[in-house]
């Protein structure tokens, strides 16, 4: 069924509702956070149809949330949030995604860009060396014996025990870098085989390490709490659970094809298959998903270790303080058990966020002490060559979007189209002419991730801020990009 702008009810300038009556089988309305222009863009692919399909998941409460950076995925849109009652609802691996706990980590420094401008190219080489990326690459941390199970159980805390993390890295990571209830026994041998050699690698696709400068500060108090200083360099690390998470999702999407029939669940798309949260299948997936999430936390931690080595190699002895400190690490593909207010009542839900960031407001449980008064940092990387944003969650996000906000710029061009329109080598030259050093494993891969393949991240941020589901802290601009 074609979805048009006139099918929506405008709630305000930044929020639109597609009512539950739009199509039979919907169990909740869809709320899209977007300007009129961003909504029209979203109607250009299957994003909103996928959001409508997701409302068929049993136990969904409130409304299906769609972020302004939404784009078409498979089954569930990228940029979608669905809160599903734990008591009688389901969990859907496809609504969390293949790259379980794909996320972003931001590191801050006291290094002024203008003091090290001539060293940025060397830094990009050092980062590329210390953080393996690209197709088929293996990590520098091969796991022996039962070590992979320990990674699954303890996540970034495993790295702390191994001396590969600082205590502050852990406290400034969502869930302290470890989801409780991870069960490596629910993970297939095949997933473990894929994951065993990939820990500490960036991978390929849209994953990257980016060196940025803090270009603007909007909330000096929050920026100070995060250690962000105007003109200083920062590092963003974007990656997830590598082949390990992909195999976990592949296994459970396969296995639950049969379970939906057994539980009598009707769905419009087989990629949305699910099982009751409180069932043997649901518990098994939760245990495996948490194991993959912990793998991803450990992975970003090891890439942080590599990043620190690169900084030491390039800057030690050249600047007074070359250390980098963690600002925060957030996930944007995850299912989390949380309690939210629904129709005035506290309800325990499994919040499925796929391409959406948790954005808890001030005072929310689980935030590090230094962020309790400002809210949870929300990291919004832009497209390569454009700005990125540091935001914080608000009370509004708790009330309107199940404590969630956007996760990036959001694609507008298909990979095929981007490759047709953009030449990888030309793009690299243009980026370098504008002062951005690029290290890329594949030029066609670089072209697929060209800035013009994405929405304007500033418009996305203005929308979530206008809607009151996040608040601006700082804007970052890139000076070096390392891509697989």
């Amino acid at each position: 069924m074609k979805i048009n702008l006139h099918d929506f009810k405008k709630i305000d300038e930044f929020e639109w509702e597609l009512p539950e009556s739009f199509r039979s089988g919907m169990r909740a309305p869809v709320h899209v956070f977007a300007t009129r222009q961003l909504l029209e863009d979203a109607l250009g692919d299957l994003s909103i149809e996928q959001a409508v399909n997701a409302t068929a998941l049993p136990g969904i409460v409130g409304h299906m949330v769609v972020m302004p950076d939404v784009h078409q995925g498979y089954g569930f849109p990228i940029g979608g949030v669905a809160a599903i009652r734990v008591s009688d609802g389901v969990i859907s691996p496809g609504a969390i995604g293949y790259d379980i706990n794909c996320g972003v980590r931001l590191l801050a420094s006291n290094i002024l860009f203008h003091e090290v401008e001539g060293l940025i190219e060397r830094l990009s080489f050092a980062l590329d060396e210390a953080c393996p990326s690209g197709v088929g690459v293996k990590g520098a941390f091969p796991l022996k014996g039962n070590e992979l199970d320990d990674v699954c159980r303890y996540g970034a805390r495993w790295a702390l025990k191994k001396g590969l993390a600082l205590e502050e890295d852990i406290t400034r990571t969502e869930e302290m870098g470890c989801l409780e209830g991870a069960d490596p026994d629910q993970v297939s041998q095949r997933a473990k085989e894929r994951g065993r050699t990939q820990l500490g690698t960036l991978g390929s696709g849209n994953h990257f390490i980016e060196v940025d400068i803090v270009e603007q500060i909007f909330d000096p108090g929050a920026a100070q709490a995060m250690g962000l200083q105007l003109g200083c360099i920062t590092v963003q690390i974007h990656c997830g659970s590598r082949g390990f998470g992909h195999q976990v999702c592949t296994d459970y999407v396969h296995d639950l094809q049969e379970a939906v029939h057994r539980y009598g669940i009707q769905l419009p798309d087989r990629e949305l298959v699910c099982a009751p949260i409180d069932s043997q299948e649901g518990r098994a997936y939760l245990g495996a998903m948490r194991a993959a999430a912990n793998y991803a936390f450990a992975n970003r931690q090891l890439l942080t270790y590599g990043t620190r080595q690169a900084f030491e190699q390039v800057f030690a002895g050249k600047v007074r303080d070359w250390h980098i400190r963690q600002v925060y690490d957030i996930t944007h593909n995850m299912g989390k058990i949380e309690t939210h207010l629904v129709d005035g009542k506290k309800v325990k839900v499994c919040v499925h966020r796929k391409g959406a960031t948790r954005a808890f407001g001030p005072g929310a449980p689980g935030l590090p002490a230094e962020y309790t008064h400002i809210g949870q940092p929300v990291l919004v990387p832009g497209s390569m060559g454009t700005a990125s944003w540091v935001l914080v969650g608000t009370q509004g996000s708790m009330e309107r979007s199940f404590g969630s906000s956007c996760h990036g710029a959001g694609r507008v061009l298909s990979r095929t189209q981007a490759k047709k329109e953009v030449n990888g080598e030309t793009l690299r030259r243009k980026l370098e002419e504008s002062g951005i050093v690029v290290r890329a494993g594949s030029l066609p891969g670089l072209a697929e991730e060209a800035p013009q393949a994405y929405k304007d991240v500033d418009s996305v941020v203005e929308t979530v801020v206008g809607a009151g589901i996040a608040r601006k802290v700082a804007r970052l601009i890139p000076v070096a990009v390392i891509k697989g």
Partner: protein, 147 residues
């Protein structure tokens, strides 16, 4: 039911084909063939075409797969997922497939080698809107890959 053998490659079979379909975030491939085994073989060849590179000059690497699934769509996803795993774990690609089907029990003998200069990686095969339909081109479907 007697197994049906399929040994042709795409190049040899003008009735089969694949074509990349634009997808905002990932990759989608239209695949068609005169029958189900041709469709499976074509899907594999199309998938390897997407990831790029070429087989090295080293020794050929034969592999055998046995799969049983409840329906054709699941069989297609499982077959391609096996290839994704072999590609990631051993960097293998395949260009020759001999398939036989008995009911929904699939046997595959395939032959390939190590892929060099692979530019892209397919990380998963999805069920998104997956339906194998009868069309004027025989059997046809669109499969979406996670990249």
């Amino acid at each position: 039911m007697m197994p049906y053998n399929y040994t042709k490659t795409m190049q040899e079979n003008a009735l089969s084909g694949h074509e990349e379909r634009p997808h905002t975030a990932d990759w989608a491939l239209d695949i068609w063939g005169p029958d189900f085994l041709a469709l499976l073989s074509e899907a594999a060849i199309g998938m390897f075409a997407l990831i790029g590179g070429h087989l090295n000059d080293g020794p050929r690497q034969p592999r055998h797969l046995s799969l049983i699934e409840p329906d054709r769509e699941t069989l297609l996803v499982s077959f391609l997922s096996e290839l994704v795993f072999l590609n990631e774990s051993e960097r293998l690609g395949f260009d020759r497939f001999q398939l036989s089907l008995s009911g929904l029990e699939l046997e595959v003998d395939m032959d390939g080698g190590i892929i060099v200069d692979q530019t892209k990686q397919i990380k998963a095969v999805t069920f998104h809107n997956l339906e194998i339909c009868n069309t004027s081109r025989g059997l046809e479907t669109t499969i979406v890959f996670d990249v």
